[in-house]
């Protein structure tokens, strides 16, 4: 194996890693407001991708599919919040873990029956002819993934910092009770976070599908990696998920090349268990103080 091959694999893997980072970012959004995450986030990615594919096949131009798909994802996110999360949060229980798993399973089964169990190609107007850049080949498609990931993360962060609604979101994240006393509805902030999270998931699906194809199995492969990224980075560091996402994507691609493609998920999972064992708050996360 030459250095050139290795470099190529690392670059492609890192670009895939950005997609993991985006899905992981979706976890962070909901975790910030409600300390809950959607265990069915992978299914949200997959179902949104399938819906977008149907829109493409129906003849909708790509420029419209993107916002339509993201809107659909946001609606799905809101549904998950209403059906799976709100009751458990009101009861201050961790029932949302099981509930979001259940909803994910339902979406998966529905997708299997509506769109079939096979992987399908996702047509895109963006070219996949490689460009030679500093000794490695990169396709415009891969570049579009990177651009999309950074654009949406940047926009969401900007929204949180600049707009009043975004500041309300931040206030609930910082201290839910204090925010409620200031007249901010925590429930609405949580709904907003689930909507945004669903939107981000849909975008991840639309970006990654032209590269990987769309299929019901994409949910489980994506979500485990996104979990790894989110946990290793820490559930409160947007910068962290990008760094860890890139690293994990690269590591995974190298493992796949050297050990065997069946093992490509292993490094992420081992990292996840290790991170949980050694530093449960994540590499970039903040430690919390226990109080009595």
């Amino acid at each position: 194996m030459t250095a050139a091959v290795l470099a190529q694999v690392v670059v492609s893997g890192a670009l895939m890693g950005l997609v993991y980072a985006l899905v992981a970012y979706g976890f962070q959004l909901t975790y910030a407001t409600s300390k809950s995450i959607n265990f069915g986030q992978g299914e949200l990615v997959m179902v949104s991708a399938f819906v977008s594919l149907s829109l493409v096949n129906a003849g909708l131009p790509y420029g419209l599919v993107l916002p339509a798909g993201m809107l659909f994802g946001a609606l799905l996110g809101l549904f998950v919040e209403r059906a799976g999360v709100r009751l458990a949060l009101e009861q201050k229980s961790e029932g949302w873990i099981l509930m979001t798993i259940i909803l994910g399973l339902f979406f998966l089964s529905a997708a299997e029956n509506v769109w079939g169990r096979d992987d399908r190609p996702f047509p895109t107007p963006i070219s996949s002819d490689p460009i030679h850049l500093l000794g490695v080949d990169i396709t415009p498609l891969e570049i579009s993934v990177a651009v999309g990931v950074f654009a949406v993360m940047g926009l969401v962060e900007l929204f949180k910092r600049v707009t009043l609604l975004g500041k309300a979101f931040e206030a609930v994240s910082a201290d839910r009770d204090a925010a409620e006393l200031m007249g901010i509805s925590a429930r609405r902030a949580i709904m907003l976070s689930y909507g945004l999270s669903g939107m981000v998931a849909a975008l991840a699906g639309i970006l990654v599908s032209p590269i990987t194809t769309v299929g019901p199995t994409m949910s489980s492969t994506l979500i485990l990696k996104a979990f790894s990224v989110a946990v290793v980075a820490g559930l409160d560091s947007g910068f962290g998920v990008v760094v860890v996402g890139i690293l994990l994507g690269a590591l995974e691609a190298v493992t796949s090349l050297t050990v065997g493609s069946g093992w490509r998920e292993a490094p992420g999972l081992v990292l996840l268990i290790l991170a949980l064992a050694v530093r449960p708050t994540g590499v970039f996360g903040k430690a919390t103080i226990r109080k009595v």
């Binding site: 029932g95 093992w263 999972l269 268990i273 290790l274």
Partner: protein
């Protein structure tokens, strides 16, 4: 007594006898296969209930232990030509060891992180079973021949009886465990992990042991699974099966052996349910009716929220409509599990057994068994000689949180046998100081010694082991347990039987002794009559006293009372003062944090005053009350002399 035995053991024996008799009359191999699976899943679900029910965590790795156990047993038979018992022992051991290994990192975590760790482990296991082809045969699968049992080849009914006997044994062992200190500790650590640690019980230790035990049961079930099917494939132990197992435990009812049994019945019958259209329609129709009935009832009685009442009806309605419309229900199996599980989690969170147990306890009222007479207090809390020497010494103790100097160089000396007051305005660092001494925080710097020995830092559990007990300003009682059980959880040195013997039921004697000891402490604090009352139903004042009784169960050398009179009415405060005096008369040294100055004046010989994390005064209550710095800290700056003269 006899009535109690009949009502509790009777149904168990009847069902066991019934199941055991079936092969004598039914020879249909398919039915026998289902019964065997029922026993195997029964063991599996009892194991899963340990984490999902008793520890209250979503465990997604149980299916991996089933797989590991199955492959361990299979490989022992195929590669090592091991016998029946050897292969089952190997399966159980593999479950125990891997369970223990996963538990060490995973159980430091809570909720979502725990679920993630177990999910990763399950996926890793599936990958390994698939990819280690040299060992497991990979996706090709692994065929085995069932070895003879103790030299005799087993018939189908023989194998069933063996599985059933193992199921009965597991059932009895779990019952013994849950009736012992272990069962109490499981409940306690769900209510308050911090208090469980502070009482020296060890949250982490109990969780790891429980998880390893549950996983060992998963391994055992896996071994039986392998010897039942005689063909192993990695994809049998999938996420789908994990969801079905969770469905079984939740629907049957968490924290219940009967619930696990009911769940196993469901898991065994599910495939038939899905393949038979009529059966499916009947079942889903019944589910819809049940959801509609309990939903309306809940709404009328206003015991449930509208969402809890409506969502299950919608989900079951979808199931009914789907059953009529869809060609092949098998294709939709995941959605069907999802809808069923959704309805149960939302509409029947306690499961069938939780629901039935309530109804049954109304029908057959059972008195709890009589308590033994209380032990003598001299035995439970032997009087200590107090020689007036130094017991606890703090030297320049500091605790910073980032830039906040909560405790900023406190030095203090607590004399043996004294009641040492610790006062100060709000935010002066009293509670932080107590949290540092009792091991909740690791101090930034400084030294703490108890009788000249360095006190451990940063571990409630190890400090508790040193003979320091505490109560909490914000109550940390084990609300689900009775007052008696609250005290029994904390009893120091009362439980010596090792876990394997506890499983065999050898802990009953020491249990009785512990009851007598705990009762003595409850009587000391005036709670003797409330021994059987659930702690959450006690009055606020009684809950505060219960915390003291529980801390005394540690037989502490130093007892830290963190604002015991906070929120108490005047008569209760008088009671409290009397009780603290009685405790002091037994030679227990105390640190008393209190805002009631009259209580402090009445009880304490020495008082230390904190402000801004520093000691500003120390002395007898009267000296301290007159100290200008203390007056300033509580009432603010006195007007300057010149200003007074002007006026």
């Amino acid at each position: 007594m006899l009535r109690r035995l009949v009502l509790t053991r009777g149904p168990e024996l009847a069902v066991l006898g019934f199941l055991a008799a079936i092969p004598l009359f039914v020879t249909n191999p398919y039915a026998l296969g289902l019964l065997t699976l029922l026993a195997i899943y029964g063991i599996l679900l009892i194991g899963l209930d340990v984490t999902v029910g008793y520890l209250g965590q979503v465990n997604l790795s149980h299916v991996a232990f089933l797989g590991l156990g199955a492959y361990a047993a299979g490989l022992v038979v195929v590669r090592l030509h091991g016998g029946f018992t050897f292969s089952l022992a190997a399966a159980t051991l593999v479950g125990l060891v891997f369970g223990g290994l996963l538990a060490f990192p995973a159980l430091r975590l809570e909720g979502p992180q725990f679920a993630l760790a177990t999910l990763s482990f399950a996926t890793l296991t599936a990958t390994a079973l698939n990819e280690l082809e040299a060992l497991t045969g990979g996706a090709q699968g692994l065929s085995i021949l069932r070895p003879p049992f103790l030299g005799h080849p087993l018939s189908a009914s023989g194998f069933f009886w063996l599985c059933l006997a193992l199921f009965a044994l597991v059932w009895m062992a779990m019952r013994n465990l849950l009736a012992s200190q272990w069962g109490r500790a499981f409940e306690a650590l769900r209510d308050s992990p911090i208090a469980t640690d502070a009482m020296g019980v060890g949250t982490y230790r109990h969780k790891v042991a429980a998880f390893a035990l549950g996983s060992a049961l998963g391994g055992l079930a896996g071994g039986l699974y392998a010897l039942n099917f005689l063909y192993l494939q990695p994809q049998s132990y999938s996420y789908d099966l994990m969801v079905i197992l969770l469905l079984g435990v939740v629907l049957g009812g968490r924290m219940s052996l009967w619930g696990a049994f009911l769940g196993a019945c469901l898991v065994v019958l599910l495939p038939n349910l899905l393949s038979n259209r009529l059966l499916f329609q009947v079942f889903s129709g019944l589910g819809l009716l049940l959801a509609a009935y309990s939903g309306t009832r809940g709404l009328v009685k206003k015991t449930t929220r509208p969402f809890q009442a409506l969502a299950p009806v919608v989900a079951m309605g979808l199931l009914v409509v789907g059953g009529l419309k869809v060609q092949n229900t098998e294709d939709w199996r995941k959605a069907i599990f999802a809808l069923m599980l959704f309805s149960v989690v939302v509409g029947l969170p306690e499961g069938v057994m939780g629901f039935a147990a309530k109804a049954l306890s109304k029908l057959f009222h059972l008195e709890p068994p009589a308590l033994p007479p209380a032990a003598s207090l001299d035995e439970v809390l032997p009087a200590r000689a107090s020689d007036g020497s130094s017991l606890l010494r703090l030297i320049d103790l500091k605790q910073y949180f980032g830039g906040v100097k909560a405790v900023d160089g406190v030095s203090m000396n607590v004399v043996s046998g004294a009641i040492h007051g610790l006062i100060g305005p709000n935010g002066s660092g009293k509670s932080t100081l107590v949290n540092v001494v009792s091991g909740l925080y690791t101090p930034t710097s400084g030294e703490m010694t108890l009788r000249g020995r360095l006190l451990p830092t940063g571990s409630l559990m190890r400090v508790a082991g040193f003979g320091v007990a505490r109560t909490f300003q914000n109550l940390q009682i084990f609300s689900g347990l009775s007052a008696l059980d609250n005290v029994m959880v904390a009893l120091r040195g009362a439980y010596r039987t090792p876990m394997p013997l506890v499983l065999l039921g050898a802990a009953r004697g020491e249990e009785r002794k512990a009851q007598a000891d705990a009762l003595a402490l409850l009587e000391l604090t005036g709670l003797g009559v409330d021994a059987r009352t659930p702690a959450k139903d006690l009055t606020y004042g009684s809950q505060r006293l219960l915390e003291i009784a529980r801390a005394l169960a540690r037989r502490p050398e130093l007892l830290i009372l963190d604002e015991p009179a906070a929120g108490l009415a005047h008569p209760d405060v008088m009671r409290l003062v009397e009780i603290i005096r009685r405790i002091a008369s037994r030679g227990v040294t105390m640190i008393l944090i209190e805002h009631h100055m009259d209580v402090v004046s009445e009880l304490c010989t020495t008082v230390t005053v904190l402000d801004g994390g520093r000691v500003i005064a120390e002395g007898t209550p009267d000296e301290v009350k007159r100290h200008p710095k203390v007056i300033e800290a509580y009432l603010g700056q006195a007007p300057a002399a010149g200003a007074a003269a002007e006026a």
